[in-house]
Subunit: 632 residues, 2 copies
């Protein structure tokens, strides 16, 4: 751990200054990942498809371990309701959620070749390049370019197009001129069934599958709030031009939680469990005033109003514990609050867990208070109320506004327009109606705008009766708010790879050896069994140990190739195997820890249980070191 951090700090610290050394670090890490099949560009023998990657055997094992721990840490520990919905989704669902209309990126086309680019990427690249390379830029130009980069996400298609024209930006590959920007929907479209009449999409997130099931899940939970539902699954985004390797891909695994809560009570009973955590946070104010992230004690962030509510704060703490337990460096992890322009209009508050890697700070988990937006949208579109009920222990008296238009008098006054005036009167908000009531009582007549008629009409006292009626209510019916932590599993895994990667000189110092210092819980394989020398006796012992490890459910490999022991250690260090069992006698063997390279001597019968204790978290290497004789 410490060694890796030191090396990475040297390599990756600071901003663009040492981008060359960050680049070198990445090349060395990615080469190791690809050579050892942690991941593979998909369909490589057909020259691949941009933005699609396979996990090879060690990568796939890391992914399975990360997801198993996610289930343990969130679903099991918090008693969440896990569901599993299909990727193929009919259009109506994504129309309701807003994805059909708004899940777009702005695209420009090379006017001659038809090659497509993301408009904002081209503009950003142009500005950054100019700022970096053109040292003669006047001060006001520097300010202008910096401003463009800052407001990039807020620019309309027309504004983006105007800037691209103004700066003379052309297609990067051909220098041809570019089309105007136009929106491209990022969902993969398909058609469900043979008729061709039912359009569908590959889901862009797993959350919608949970929202449409809210009614059943609420019932399953005994009609009680709060509760959380969770889902792990594939999601799809047909990126215009994928880049940054595993970080921006066209298909990825999401793990999402939808925590449903009474909007009037977002306290969390277990908030105290995370209140003492001290975490790097980057609140809105710090960002807007050009300051940097700062360490904040979570328990102080909620009462101070930095974080909107306890439930949001609780999840920030749980996400922090999850990521650091996996092996993410706590000092290269920060929680950044969304700026007002980044947040959807309905969102109450939003924090991203960002992890620093060689590409900069990467958003890996989004934690958003989405208020009641999604449930309301699906209620409206489907006609099925997605609401919760709070039964009162005793009925409560409430005042209700009742507006009763007089059909007869409206008919006489407005003839054919009667109904539209009547509807407009009934649609008045409470405040407006009470104003009208007061005005009618004092003046007897009032001017009233009927938008469906496109004009104002004169309403007289006899035409409508407005009153407050007292009645008894037995329950409150409301749409729950949802707090959504959403995990990009592939991004977390890539950042984990970088945080765990380091190099160290070989014994004779003539080469640099690669190591992944994965914690045992993440390591793709928990131990290697190596006979010290080629011998039938030692091979027999190795096979016996393998059998004991298998019975204990510990993933392992036997390496009985004739290669030198040093080379064989290096080979397993490179895929992050934490322990190596070396068979050098028939009664006792040694266990070597990957990072310290310390070795202890343990009897053949005990070796599986010693390893199991450590990987199950019941013991640590340091404890075990005290208990067994060390081996030099």
């Amino acid at each position: 751990g410490a060694a890796a951090r030191k090396l990475q700090a040297a390599v990756a610290s600071g901003g663009g200054e040492n981008s060359a050394s960050r680049e070198a670090f990445r090349v060395s890490c990615v080469n190791t990942l690809e050579r050892r099949l942690f991941y593979i560009p998909s369909f490589k023998i057909y020259r691949g498809v941009a933005g699609l990657y396979d996990y090879g055997p060690p990568g796939c094992a890391v992914k399975a371990n990360v997801l198993a721990y996610w289930r343990q840490h969130f679903v099991l520990e918090e008693g969440m309701l896990e569901v599993d919905c299909p990727c193929v989704t009919p259009e109506v669902v994504l129309k309701a959620s807003g994805h059909v209309d708004k899940f777009t990126d702005l695209m420009v086309k090379d006017e001659k070749t038809g090659t497509c680019y993301r408009a904002d990427h081209l503009l950003k690249d142009f500005c950054k390049d100019k700022l970096e390379k053109d040292l003669t830029l006047p001060q006001e130009k520097v300010a202008e370019l910096k401003h463009v980069v800052a407001v990039l996400d807020d620019l309309s298609p027309d504004e983006l197009g105007a800037k691209i024209k103004e700066y003379g930006i052309t297609a990067p590959d051909t220098k041809n001129s570019l089309s105007d920007p136009y929106p491209f929907n990022l969902m993969f479209q398909t058609s469900i069934g043979p008729s061709g009449l039912l359009p569908g999409y590959m889901r862009p997130e797993t959350a919608q599958g949970i929202f449409v099931n809210f009614k059943d899940l609420y019932y399953y939970n005994g009609n009680r709030l709060p509760f959380a539902a969770a889902q792990i699954g594939q999601a799809f985004r047909n990126e215009i031009s994928p880049r940054q390797g595993l970080l921006r891909v066209r298909e990825f695994t999401l793990a999402e939680i939808e925590h449903f809560v009474d909007p009037d009570d977002k306290a969390h009973p277990k908030f105290a469990d995370v209140a003492t955590l001290e975490i790097w946070m980057f609140p809105r104010e710090e960002q807007l005033s050009g300051k940097s992230a700062k360490k904040i004690v979570l328990g102080e962030a909620v009462p101070k109003g930095t974080v909107n509510n306890e439930t949001l704060g609780y999840f920030i703490g749980r996400v922090y514990l999850f990521l650091t337990h996996l092996g993410i460096d706590k000092d290269r992890l920060r929680f950044r609050q969304h700026l007002p322009n980044e947040m959807a209009h309905y969102a109450a508050d939003c924090w991203d867990a960002e992890i620093e890697c060689s590409y900069g700070w990467i958003e890996c988990v989004g934690i958003a208070d989405r208020s009641a937006y999604d449930l309301k949208a699906h209620s409206e579109k489907s006609g099925v109320p997605l609401v919760a009920h709070e039964k009162f222990t005793e009925p409560r008296e409430v005042e209700e506004l009742v507006i009763t238009p007089s059909k007869k008098d409206l008919g006489i006054a407005f003839k054919n327009n009667q109904q539209m005036v009547s509807q407009a009167l009934q649609a008045m908000k409470a405040a407006e109606a009470l104003d009208m009531k007061a005005a009618l009582e004092s003046k007897g007549e009032v001017e009233f705008n009927v938008c469906t008629l496109g004009k104002a009409v004169a309403i007289k006292k006899n035409m409508v009766s407005i009153s407050m009626v007292r009645k008894k209510e037995h329950q409150r019916v409301f749409t729950p708010s949802v707090i959504e932590p959403s995990f990009g599993i592939g991004r977390i895994i890539y950042c984990l790879f970088e945080h765990c990667f380091y190099t160290r000189p070989s014994k004779d110092g003539d080469e640099q050896l690669n190591v992944f210092c994965f914690p045992p819980i993440v390591a793709p394989i928990k131990c290697t069994v190596l006979p010290l020398i080629k011998s039938e006796e030692f091979d027999g012992v190795a096979k016996l140990i393998s059998k004991l490890l298998r019975a204990a459910g510990i993933s392992h490999i036997i390496d009985i190739t004739g290669t030198s022991i040093g080379k064989r250690y290096a080979r397993t260090d490179e895929i992050g195997v934490p322990f190596a069992i070396t068979v050098d006698s028939t009664t006792t063997v040694t266990i070597r820890e990957r990072d310290s390279k310390n070795q202890i001597r343990v009897s053949v019968n005990e070796v599986a249980s010693v390893i199991k204790e450590i990987i199950d978290g019941l013991s640590t290497w340091s404890n075990v070191m005290l208990k067994y004789p060390s081996h030099e």
Copy 2:
């Protein structure tokens, strides 16, 4: 277990005779599954989409348990290389595999409404209906209809269309006439990237992702055979008219193994481990001669030639162990060999694990020896050789055919056509070339068909030299065979639901209670904690036990509702929770086993470890019963 089997035997045994009671059993089971959210028709609030289902909380947990055990039983135990490839697949890959051209069903359309039906389903339904209901049918008509059902899969589009016309079959819903049958490709099509120029599909199976990675995986395995790669993931089939609930769906989870092996040596070192298993098998001969499945000792099936080779036999045994360990009734599981007309032309042998449920015998796992077909297809299409090498310990002498056309003489004779003739000569197979050599030697001239010219030409002795050359080879290069066990996880789970479902009378005998007798390994929740009566003291003990269970990683729920203990037991029996811990004192508690309803008394400190021992398979309920006092 026993009770469930007895009930199901009564309900589901035999053929169509008691289809009413099978239907009743299914309704009762499916109602329980849907009411307790084991699964949910997807997008229900929008009136759903045929063939798409969600797993709700208990179903999702069962699925996770089945997949975890699959990983344990196959990937970990056999040291397989697990990979994880995307669902989105470019056309070229599925063109090579044959799916673009051949993955079709024949469809007919209602000529007025455009509604689509599967042609074979309509014909089959018509025949079965006629056979069941029309008791006046003459003997030869009965024979004809039975024959049509038997050869259904072999009928060409024209033959199917002719039968539909002959029998006057119309659209089931409207009685309108039907179009001629035409092929409909079952893949969901989409487009990759913004250009619209790169067609893609949602994969219909996970296997292709493994085949295209063969070269890297072979290298990862140290260039050694045999080895197996495995993948768990979503697959998609755009069914024309999905039916049979969870059994025929448009999106499903597959778990596939591709075991690569030398075609000259399909022995399996661990075959002895499964040789003594006695399994219901249904070989080709028994099917063709109208006999039924029979119990066969696996160790005898391979030497007798019933099963083609040891590796295939080994997987049949491992699949049998997997399914029965999950809770599939071994007497309602059979391995049926494919008939020659079911098997692809390249397949060497193929066995389906079929499970009997209320719908009949359902194919849940296919185990096929696909020979070298897939690797060869991708080698050819991609130009990348997907081969293995066998290094000889010492070089071997081999004879090789060498064909050397004489450029000069061919040029004189054929001018511009020279090159095509020359290529055709070099493309000759060994036998053809040796025939030509003999003919040229005896007659001096021979007629030779050049298909690129569309005619035969006269080849003379001076135009080509054909000889056998002896040379030394240091290795054998060959395309491995692949043996593929492919698991339909959703189908296995549905059959498991049926095999585990039974009903029993309530204590006062006034209603039937539903129970799922899931083995602990499959059970969605391992135990419930129930305070006997509402009391702060007992609630405290329940919370303590919950904490101990959580620490031991045991999924559980606390039920502190005021309902009677009997009702609370019934509630957890219905989702298959194997153990209930009832808190009736502050020092000791009882554990109740779901199926026997036996109870034992255990101290609060011990209860978590007792449960853990059983669910980890280290102890059994009967063992535990001997150790602790029983509670009446």
